[in-house]
Symmetry: C2
Subunit: 135 residues, 2 copies
């Protein structure tokens, strides 16, 4: 695939390889200052909002695997498996619009439900860390 990679796909894959290698600041070099990201919870505008969303996800990533990646001059489409600390099966799909080597728009799809369930279970454990008969 590498010899035929579109410009958009080159950028998208450089971004993907960086954030999945825990080089998040390197990944942010491919993100436009005025990126608009449509995520499951809603729209994020600007690189700082994007960093606040994607940075914590990169932090909890333990491994990843690209399932498929395609692109043309301006668009790249990726699907990947991701394993995270709280959720073991956390695949994602991203559609990037790339202009001048920067990602200006990203549509990201993943299943929030297992993350919500993991947070709820963690909160319940925190509320009752060690059930004792006398408490």
């Amino acid at each position: 695939m590498s010899s035929e990679q579109s410009l958009a796909l080159q950028t998208a894959l450089a971004y993907f390889r960086a954030w999945t290698s825990h080089e998040f600041e390197q990944a942010m070099r491919y993100v436009a200052d005025d990126i608009v990201c449509q995520a499951p919870a809603g729209q994020l505008a600007g690189a700082e909002a994007f960093r606040g969303f994607m940075g914590p996800f990169a932090d909890i990533l333990t491994s990843s695997r690209l399932i498929a990646a395609f692109g043309d001059d301006e668009t790249a489409l990726l699907m990947y498996d991701a394993v995270t600390a709280p959720v073991k099966v956390a695949p994602g799909a991203e559609c990037h619009t790339v202009r001048n080597g920067k990602i200006t728009h990203m549509r990201i799809i993943f299943d929030r439900q297992p993350f919500t369930e993991a947070r709820r279970a963690a909160a319940e454990r925190a509320a009752a860390p060690d059930r004792r008969a006398d408490d």
Copy 2:
């Protein structure tokens, strides 16, 4: 895109156009009898299990729009917006493996959370359909 469509992409788009046009049985003509589908809730094996998963989703679809679609000889990758009766923003991404014009493997990613919330809200409404002071 149409003049350069790969064989896998032709099949994937024919499937997509059929199910999003409420022609689900037509869509199933592109699905292999022994399809394996990795969905958010787990793996489905065989066309009947797939029908039981995807048919009800097609039934509640009110509109859709292809965001991006790419493919090569054997693989197609699609992302789409979907509007459903219970959930207005329900985008999905699918990676198809296609052999001999049939989809033999599908990886599908979507956010289950708004569907779970909609079901919960509907169950609460059903439990208290008309709150009266005397009930």
